[in-house]
Structure formats: C-alpha cells, structure tokens
Amino acid sequence: MNQDTLKRGAAVLAAITVVVAAGGCSNKAQDSGSSAASGGAGDVQTDIGVEGTTISLGVLTDLTGVFAALGKDITNANTLYWKDNKVCNTYDVTLNVNDTGYVPQTGVQLYSGMKDSILAMQQTIGSPINTALAPEYTADKIVNFPSAWAQTLTEIPGTGVVGATYAVEIANGYDYMFKQGLLADGDTVGHIYFEGEYGANGLAGTQAVAKKRNLTVVEAQIKSTDQDMSAQITQFKAAGVDMVALTVAPAQLASAAAAMQAQGLDVPILGSNPVFAPGLLQGPAAEKIKKDLYVASPVSAFDAHPDLLKEYQAAYPDATPSLGVLVGIGMSEIMKQVLDSACDNGNLTRQGVLDAFNALTKVDTGGVVVPIRGFQAGTSPSLQSFVLQPADVPGGATVVADAFEGEFAADIAG
C-alpha cells in the first residue's frame, strides 16, 4: 500500500511527485505468466490500456451540456495533474477525454468506443451516466471516479465516491451548526430537496439527525426544474423554522435565499455541496447567501490551497476556476494512489487495479479532498466533511471548518 502523507496547501502537486519519487513503489518482479511491459516498467503484469510506459485512462465528461463549466474545470484539473505526475515514477498517464453532453445514451456509446483502450476511468460526470454505465463498468472491472456523492453510487463495484455521501455530508453540516450555536436541540428545520437519489440521500441525513436531536423537520420536495421557492419558504416561515436545509441546485438556492429575504425569514441555510456555484455571488440574493449560507463539502477551497489556484490559473488563464478544480485534482490523486498500489503489487491489469482499489484503507490527498477510509460497497467512503462559506474570492468560497467527523457521521455512514 502506498500511502503518501502530504502537507496541506503549498505545492501539493509538486510534493506528491517528490514523495512518490522518493518513497513510492518499487516494481517488484512477479510470477511468470505476466506480460511484462517494456521500458522501465520491469515485470509488471498488464492487459488493457497500458502501452509500453503509457497508461490510458478514460474521461466521460460534460463539455457542452448543462454541467459544462464544472466538466471543464474537473477535466482541466485531471489533465494538469497527470502532466506533473507519473504512476510508479515510470508510467505516463494520457487521458482519453470524451464529451457526453450529459446525455446517458451518448455516454454509453462513447464508452463502448474506448473501452478496449483504457485501463480505468478517471472521471465519469453525472449520476444518470454513472448509473447507465454501472453494468458495463462492473463487467469490465473498471475502476471509476464519479463527480457525485449519492449512496447508490457506492454500491457499484470499482466506483469510488470522492468523499462522504450526501447523507453523511449534511449530517456533518448539522454538527457544525449545533456547535456554532446556529441550531439547538428541539428546533424546527425546513428541508427543500430534489426528488430522486440526490435529494432523498440528503433528506435521509436530516432525518437521522432529527431523530437524535429531536428536531422537527418540515419537508418540501421539488423537481430540478422548479425555479420559484417562494411557496416553500412561506410554508417554512409559517412553521417557524430555525434553519433551512437545501439539497438542490444553485438555481433553487438563489430562489430560496431571495424568497427568505423578501419574506423576512432571517435564519441560516445549510446546503449539500452541489447547491453552491460562484455565479450566485453576482445575483440579487448575494448578500443573504454570503451572510447565511454554510456548505458541507467533500473538498476544500482555494484559500487553503493557494498554490493550486496559481498553478491552475497559469495553465488556464482564461478560466474562472470553481471548486470543481479541487474535485478534479482530488480524484486524480486517489487514482494515482490506486495505480501506484497496483503497480507496487506488480499487477497493472484491470483486475489488479480493481484489487488495489478494493484494498485501499486510507487515502490522504493532502487536504484537497476529505480523508478517505476505503471503498466498501454500500458505505460512505469518508466520515468527514469541510464546511465552506461563500466569499468574494476565486472559487467563491472559503473554508470555515477544516475536514472533521461530526457526531452523527458514523451512524449514518453504514
């Protein structure tokens, strides 16, 4: 097992490279029967997606659909990471980037086009696409990192959710709110959530906390296309809520904040990580959002990693970086640790990579992503979350609580 414990903040990328170079894997000789890779790879067994000293990883992202901005940031970060890092200090990694436009059917077609040339999937954006591809990923023994945190994704063998599931994440958020005195036992909470897996998972977190702390929960289910949260906020105001929880998208956060302002509902807001987008800070509800929003998040923010921001801006001067950059760097770092471990075991076949993935027990990404405790089917890969607050800085948010495990996390995580 290759465990790199890296300092936070400065030079995360460079440090990772150095640590791996110094103390990383040795290419142990393996039993006969292995197809030895040429070059400096020694006797590492390989099958699909490794040519000489080059490993090919797939990326199914969204560059033209509704999540295009996020997809670009994550993909750029993946690319930037692999430019500076090698597996086992030997193998270069090339990314086979494909744009799904956030259409599951396109994703399935693109995967079948590249599946014979890739070792694993660095990134697959979108729960629907991940779900659509789950049977193929399972059959092909693909290790994959989604950019979603739903509980159901943890059930797919080889799929590594990059942080705590939505239920654990929001429960950690509650823990923070209790500790800061923003919420108290016996209070009333209004929770607006999307129908479907994402919303249900977030709501499950709220319900679990409510049971322990005797909270009254006013639930409001909406569709992802709903734009006006006025009626839900009116309902919450009538119920006298002390906090609003949101497991929705940025659009609904903007509306909820504006409606709270209009109706004078002056209580804090706790959000799951997808609720926030830096663009909200230009909208009419910016002041309310900056003052009252707390986001439970699996990734840190740029204020804790200024060098990453600098490096990203140097490589992509025209981009407006979001926290997707940190997600991209984090998932690449975890992939590197999986591949290093597989290489260390002398087996860079798909099965070898999957075995290395399943055997991980601790992943530290230098504070970019919360510490991962390993990927077990049906359980949250992490018990920890950061808490962020919006601010006028690159990425739109700063860290107000470093990665921590709240008191409810272990019970919910499974």
Partner: protein, 296 residues
Amino acid sequence: MTQFLSLLLNGLSLGALYALIALGFVIIFKASEVVSFTHGSLLLLGAYSIARLSDRIGFLPAVLAGVALTAAAAFVIERVVINRLRGAPVISLAIVTIGIDIILLTELIRRIGSDILNVPHPWGGKSFRIGDVGISQNRLIATAVAGVLIVAFFLAFKYSSWGVAMRASAEDGETAALMGIRLGRVSALAWIVAGALAAVAALFLVGAPTPGVSAAAYTVALRAFPAAILGGLDSTGGALVGGLLIGLAESFAAGYQDQLLFLGRGFGDVVPYVVMIAVLLVRPSGLFGTKELTRV
C-alpha cells in the same frame, strides 16, 4: 393567515406572468390556427439576450433590444416556416413548432451551459412588505406591468383595426380573406406580439425570487400551456383567468404540501395539469373557449 396571504400574493403574481405567456399562445392560435410549442425557447431567448446585452449596453436598452429580438425571432419563424405551411393539418404544424423549439432550445442551452446568468434589474432582490406578508419588488412590478399589458391588449383587440382583422380571421379565415383582410399580415403581427409578450414575461421570471437565466426557465412556458388550454385556447379572457388559476393552484399546493400529503410529495408540480384536466372534463372547450358546433 399570513401564510395564506403570502401564498395568495405569490400565486397572483406568478399567475399574471403565466397569463402573459398564455396570451401569446392564444393570439397565435387565433391568428394562424397553430398550437405553438415554440414559446419555451422564445422565452429563454428573451431572457438570454436581455442578460447578455445588459453588460454591454445597460439594463433598459437591453430590455428593449431583447424584446425586439424575441419578437423578430417569432416573426422569422412565422415567415419562414408557418406561413409557408399554411393550410397544413393543425397536428403537422404543432409538430413543426416542436421541432423549431428543440433546435432553438438546444442552441440556447449550449450557450448558457451550467452558468446562471444574472439580469441586473435595478430593483434587484429588494422586497415590499406589509406586516408579515412580503413579496419581492420584482414580482410586484411584474404584476403591474402584466396588468397594464393585458388591459392594453384587450383594448387593442377590441378597437384597433388589427384586433378586428384578427377576430374576423379567427372567426372565418376564408370570408375574412374575401373581405380584403390579409391573413398573412395578421398572422405575422400575432407572432410578433406573442414573442414580445414572452420576452416581457421572461424579464421578470428571471428576477427575484427566481434565480437568473438558466436552462430551467424554459419549463415555465410549459406551465403556461395548461393555463391557455383550460381558459379555452381561443379565448384571450380565458388566458388571463387560466394563468391566474394555475399560478394560485401552484402556489397553494406547494405552500400547503404538508396538508396535502395524502396526495403525495411534489403535488405542486402536477397541479397545473390536474386543474386543466378537471376543467376540461366539465367544460371540454375550456372555461371560455368557443364550443365547436357540427351539423350532421
């Protein structure tokens, strides 16, 4: 009581915007006998162009330019496609408009991406409050503007020569044509007006308390569709009543969802369609629609 009044106010303001959009459906249907599904993308086009242009030329000029652009787009659709297919079955025309809608929508969504574009309304997120009942200034202004436009439209419809020509052509196109009314011109003007109304509705629909311009703004037009149908697709008064009914039903269903739990969560989303079906079961031509008489 506060909750009731808040929901009532919210429902009315939302309903006024639905009425503006529904009015567009009705005008087009009366003038060119087309059930137009292009309204969602026209609405989004209006919102998108106002948001984009605001940065460059300022809010008010951007609003004027956005409304003009959307009206022009509607005009082009009418001239290039609808007018050439005059006489084609109603179903074919409706499906053609779905096709146009998809093309326009895809391009707009591609341009918007995952961004939320903000329209810099001078009134921003400010609110207006009487006691405990609050509403965003944006919605209040929207209701007033929608009211003025609807009254102006009714007057124009009744007294202007265009209004008379349109009513005549809706009543009996052939006779109207024989009387010297140029059906093509009436139809083109109807599309222009409908496009402009959609852009005005869009201007307010992307302000507080709804977020800025995102791809989801498109779905609002779909909710105005049941408003037009339940009012009677050929009745302008029906569009107004239908719009308000749908706005109120949606607001109350979402605001009282705990009391309506026996109907399942998320009832607020389906309520426009439930109201529409309920009305149509009782009055198949809609509340104010003209009954079709067929002699046998």
